[in-house]
């Protein structure tokens, strides 16, 4: 059976706005499959985003969708979850939105361990504004604002999330499509802040400036650099040079924020 994605998509909203070959659509399909496998009730599911290409995703989903301001998705989502903990709260967004302008909200959502699932679609660039470098653009890469090559070091988003206190952190790629839904679903089921970083491609504003001849080249790169965590354990540092670990990178159980606050309420009420 063909997968029925359209039951979760608002009627008349396809085709989406993303460019030919952009991996965002592949990730959106993974997200829909994950939402299905978790049997989410879309009436009680908020999907929150900031600004950028990836942040247009919520508009397609037939849920309670909140397209906010640049970088602020995690903070809006925190307000939704705090006020109505019974809702499932998902955040989607890009690398620039989440870790540059939204970096502060991102790390503090991780620190609080509030039960939101944050999907970062990391395509290493600001796509919507035409290809300026982001905190995740590789050093030396070309972007519209790095005409001599990018002088900046990069963030490792997953490491950032682990360091900031997220209790579930996983990484996948837009190439490894069957893994995307499994990682997101595990993140949704996890009680606490879950960060799912999906390495993605932007053929329009990154690929063409950085010697990728086609969309397929970019997909093949994702295939080549990904090494599952288990396989990496058996590899030498030399073999791991230039590779990126994928799968569940970190998981711990720690009290979730809205549950902690429920205890504050109980104390205040003299329980």
């Amino acid at each position: 059976m063909a997968y029925d994605y359209e039951k979760s998509i608002r009627p008349g909203k396809l085709p989406h706005i993303w460019c030919p070959g952009c991996g965002h659509g592949i990730i959106m399909k993974g997200l829909i499959r994950a939402m299905d496998s978790c049997e989410l009730d879309l009436k009680n599911t908020a999907v929150v985003s900031g600004i950028g290409c990836a942040s247009r995703l919520p508009g397609y989903l037939d849920a309670c969708t909140l397209h906010t301001a640049h970088g602020r998705a995690a903070a809006f989502a925190t307000g939704v979850k705090m006020a109505k903990p019974e809702m499932t709260v998902l955040v989607v967004g890009g690398d620039g939105d989440g870790t540059a302008i939204g970096g502060n909200h991102f790390i503090h959502a991780c620190r609080r361990n509030i039960d939101i699932t944050y999907i970062v679609m990391n395509n290493n660039i600001y796509g919507m504004t035409g290809g300026q470098f982001s905190p995740c653009t590789p050093t030396g890469a070309m972007a519209s604002t790095t005409p001599y090559g990018n002088p900046d070091p990069t963030f490792d988003i997953s490491k950032l999330a682990i360091g900031a206190g997220a209790t579930f952190v996983a990484r996948g790629t837009a190439f490894h499509a069957t893994q995307i839904d499994k990682l997101i679903a595990e993140g949704i089921r996890h009680k606490g802040t879950a960060v799912i970083e999906i390495l993605d491609d932007c053929p329009t504003t990154y690929g063409r400036r950085n010697k990728f001849r086609s969309v397929v080249d970019m997909m093949k790169r994702l295939k080549d650099i990904a090494v599952p965590v288990a396989a990496a354990a058996k590899m030498t540092p030399e073999q791991l040079e230039g590779k990126v670990l994928t799968g569940v990178l970190y998981k711990e159980e720690r009290p979730e924020y809205t549950e902690q606050y429920a205890q504050v309420i109980a104390k205040a009420q003299g329980a």
Binding site: A2, L14, W18, P20, G21, G23, G25, I26, K29
Partner: protein, 66 residues
């Protein structure tokens, strides 16, 4: 194990012609036709679902027919 067969549907108004499906189809069912994809070799489809899974544009549906 009997060989699976698939029937492919391309929703042309969604297809943006990225060619990901063409590249990753193991039996070369699909081919580019100017700016959209077409089913060039329907009998070769083994319903592996790779094209449906990877299409970023929700433009391919595969039904298993055997």
């Amino acid at each position: 194990m009997s060989k699976a067969k698939g029937k492919l549907e391309v929703i042309e108004k969604y297809c943006k012609g990225c060619s990901i499906c063409v590249e990753f189809c193991p039996t070369k069912v699909l081919a580019m036709d100017a700016f959209t994809v077409k089913v060039a070799n329907p009998d070769a489809c083994i319903a592996c679902m790779q094209c449906e899974l990877r299409c970023p544009d929700f433009a391919i549906k595969v039904e298993k027919i055997a």
